[in-house]
């Protein structure tokens, strides 16, 4: 049958048109506008005067930008790889269970993921509050000094990273479980017949065959954690927000608290470029290591 390619093209265009229109309106246009805004001394709402690259120029000597940059990097380091390994470990354990037990345990690990961030904040703030938190009574019982977890810069990021892993690893566990189930059972049987040790089985069967999933989880986590905001904002309220700034928080602060839309846009552009560069590097690295196998 002869196909009317012209007509097919037309239908295709019509079908994707709504998506393209909405995507252009709520993503492409604001992004382009953000670039323009970053060269102006604009307030939060409305236009400003063109000031060249002044908004960018002041970033390297802007202390809060430095704080936000390094805190974000620290947070990514604390969550992305550790979070992925925790999820992998949990899914390896869960996959050995079966039937209802597996469903129950899986549900328990997934439960935190369905909580809204405000509830997560309430739970952990209540547990770790310096004066009234239940965890502090545990420390007291062991005769240890109490730790003002969310009030010191030493503990803040590790604690928020821990809470984040607790909160979000359920989703990664699901991805890993799907990956583990996709590995053909025959390979394990063959390995078992050859008397392979558990570690070698993991190292030479599970790990390489699971790599596409691991790479995916790492990429998702990386992009997600670079954009960290909610938890940091909530846990630092009524405390010391400026010591615990992360990139998105700093954008929010410049734009909404200090009414400096232009400077906020410049930081947003920097974050935008960071996310793109890091994602591309991450993607290439994942592909490279895949090919080497």
């Amino acid at each position: 049958m002869l196909r009317n390619t012209k007509k097919e093209w037309l239908i295709a265009y019509i079908l994707i048109a709504p998506f393209v229109a909405i995507y252009a309106l709520i993503f492409v246009y604001p992004t382009i506008d953000m670039f323009f805004l970053s060269f102006q001394d604009a307030p939060l709402v409305g236009a400003g005067d063109f000031v060249g690259i002044e908004n960018y120029e002041r970033l390297p000597r802007d202390r809060r930008f430095g704080t936000a940059f390094w805190n974000t990097a620290y947070f990514v380091a604390l969550t992305v790889i550790p979070g992925t390994f925790v999820a992998l470990a949990i899914s390896m354990a869960v996959t050995r269970l079966s039937g209802r037990t597996q469903a129950l345990v899986l549900a328990l690990f997934f439960l935190p993921y369905i909580l809204p961030v405000s509830v997560v904040f309430r739970i952990w703030d209540w547990a770790l509050n310096f004066q009234f938190g239940i965890a502090m009574h545990v420390l007291d019982a062991f005769g240890m000094d109490r730790i003002p977890v969310f009030k010191t810069t030493t503990w803040f990021m590790p604690a928020v990273a821990f809470v984040t892993i607790w909160w979000t690893c359920g989703f990664s566990v699901l991805l890993f479980l799907a990956g583990l189930r996709a590995i053909p059972q025959e390979i394990y049987e063959a390995a078992a017949l050859d008397n392979t040790s558990r570690w070698r089985m993991f190292r030479h069967v599970t790990w390489p065959l699971l790599w596409p999933i691991t790479g995916l989880v790492l990429t998702i986590q990386l992009i997600l954690q670079l954009k960290i905001f909610d938890q940091v904002y909530l846990f630092s309220q009524g405390g010391r927000p400026n010591d615990n700034l992360v990139m998105v928080y700093y954008i929010f602060q410049r734009a909404f608290v200090n009414n400096q839309g232009g400077r906020a846009a410049a930081i947003a552009v920097v974050l935008f470029i960071m996310v793109i560069v890091i994602s591309v590097i991450n993607f290439q690295l994942t592909r490279l290591s895949e090919r080497r196998k």
Binding site: D62, R63, Q131, P148, G238, R240, V257, N258
Partner: protein, 418 residues
């Protein structure tokens, strides 16, 4: 005929319903004082049944509130009336957020310059125009637990804590409380929240006649030393174990109300919290008094709650008249607002015998002579830029992580870098 009357009556009710103006109201009064304000709104609605009804919403205090005001004005979705802080009026005028209240508006409200203290009237003025109707002044005070102080022999005959006259005496009182082994914290202090501590530290600067801003420059001359002195006192109390460390706002109130902290420096807006707990039989004998004189003379930081009409809504003349009536009525009935701990801004209210007899307001009302306000600049104000910069360095200093001198250097650097 009966049918006709019924129709006529229905039409009249309908007309009345149409004439009723709904005033959309935003406030940030989430504490014990918010309960009092909701009562006042209900009373207003009862008194104006069929004419005006207030549709009130309470939003999160501070940055979230002011962020929402900015964006709502920008998109034309602002409320008809909102509460505001007098300290933020210069910034708000700069941002074009507020409508001017003309002399004609004040005539319509039956209020004017003579009804308010000069400092408060000045706080709502910018470039010779008025942008708000002051409701109150709300300073910080020293709350104290009479039961524990009494047992320790640290109450005067007037029922006030011993040692309010000087730094050495007050520190001695705190030390005596610490030596009394039952006491966890002599002073409950919001040491984890630099924003809150701005009030205490600015008061201590005021006690040395320190200025934050002189002719547009920050901490000129020996003002830096005065800030350092203020920080040093508070750090000393931390180092000696006299005050609670890393304590956030709710925890501080909880430490005091549970009796774990004997005294607490906090805003008068916590008065209703104490009153209500006491009424339920869940609180000790308590009092509130003007801050101790740590340096040269008494001085207390204060701010005012103000009613303002935001830009970004096209209100009809009838609606505007209704909004003015709301402001006028609340101002003239603000005796009840004094039960929220605040000092009413309307002079006619504070002159009433009923107000003068009100406790604990009467105990701390001496401080009205010693109140200081934020510098008048768009940089100042609750949750504003100066507040934000200074608070960053207060937390590490007050908890002994940073030396006061270093904190002052950092504050000056960052204030000049805004």
């Amino acid at each position: 005929m009966k049918k006709f009357i019924a129709i006529a009556a229905a039409a009249m009710v309908g007309a009345a319903a149409q004439a009723q103006e709904t005033v959309v109201w935003w406030d940030f009064l989430g504490g014990g004082d918010g309960v009092r304000m909701k009562q006042m709104i209900a009373d207003f609605n009862d008194a104006h049944a069929g004419e005006i009804v207030i549709d009130g919403t309470t939003l999160d205090w501070g940055v979230p509130f002011y962020t929402k005001v900015q964006t709502s004005v920008a998109v034309g979705e602002a409320p008809d009336i909102m509460t505001y802080h007098a300290s933020r009026i210069p910034l708000a005028v700069d941002q074009g957020l507020l409508q001017e209240l003309t002399p004609a508006d004040f005539d319509a409200m039956g209020l004017g310059q003579d009804d308010f203290a000069p400092s408060i009237w000045d706080a709502v003025s910018a470039d010779g125009k008025q942008y708000g109707v002051p409701i109150d002044t709300h300073p910080i005070v020293l709350y104290y637990n009479k039961d524990i102080l009494g047992e320790a022999g640290l109450l005067t005959d007037d029922g006030l804590p011993v040692g309010l006259g000087s730094r050495a005496e007050f520190t001695a009182t705190l030390q005596a409380l610490k030596d009394n082994s039952d006491v966890t914290f002599p002073l409950g202090s919001v040491t984890a929240d630099g924003n809150f501590m701005f009030r205490t530290i600015y008061s201590l600067m005021g006690q040395q006649d320190g200025e934050l801003m002189t002719d547009g420059a920050f901490l000129v001359g020996d003002n830096a030393t005065k800030l350092e002195n203020a920080l040093a006192v508070l750090q000393e109390w931390t180092n000696e174990g006299l005050q609670s460390t890393y304590t956030d706002y709710p925890a501080t109130v909880a430490l005091f109300t549970s009796g774990e902290a004997v005294m607490m420096i906090n805003g008068v807006w916590e008065v209703p919290t104490m009153v209500d707990l006491e009424a339920e039989g869940n609180l000790f004998e308590w009092g509130a008094v003007e801050l101790p004189v740590i340096f040269d003379h008494a001085s207390t930081y204060s701010d005012s709650h103000v009613f303002a009409i935001p830009e970004g809504n096209d209100m009809s003349p009838e609606k505007r008249a209704a909004v003015l009536e709301v402001m006028s009525w609340i101002s003239k009935n603000s005796l009840f607002w004094a039960t929220a701990g605040h000092i009413p801004a309307n002079n006619n209210i504070t002159a009433m015998d009923a107000y003068k007899a009100m406790e604990p307001n009467a105990t701390y009302s001496s401080l009205t002579a010693n109140m200081i306000y934020d510098p008048k600049t768009p940089m100042a104000g609750v949750a504003g830029p100066i507040f934000d910069v200074m608070s960053t360095y207060f937390v590490p200093t007050l908890n002994g992580e940073m030396e006061p001198s270093e904190a002052v250097e950092e504050i000056i650097y960052e204030l000049n870098d805004m």
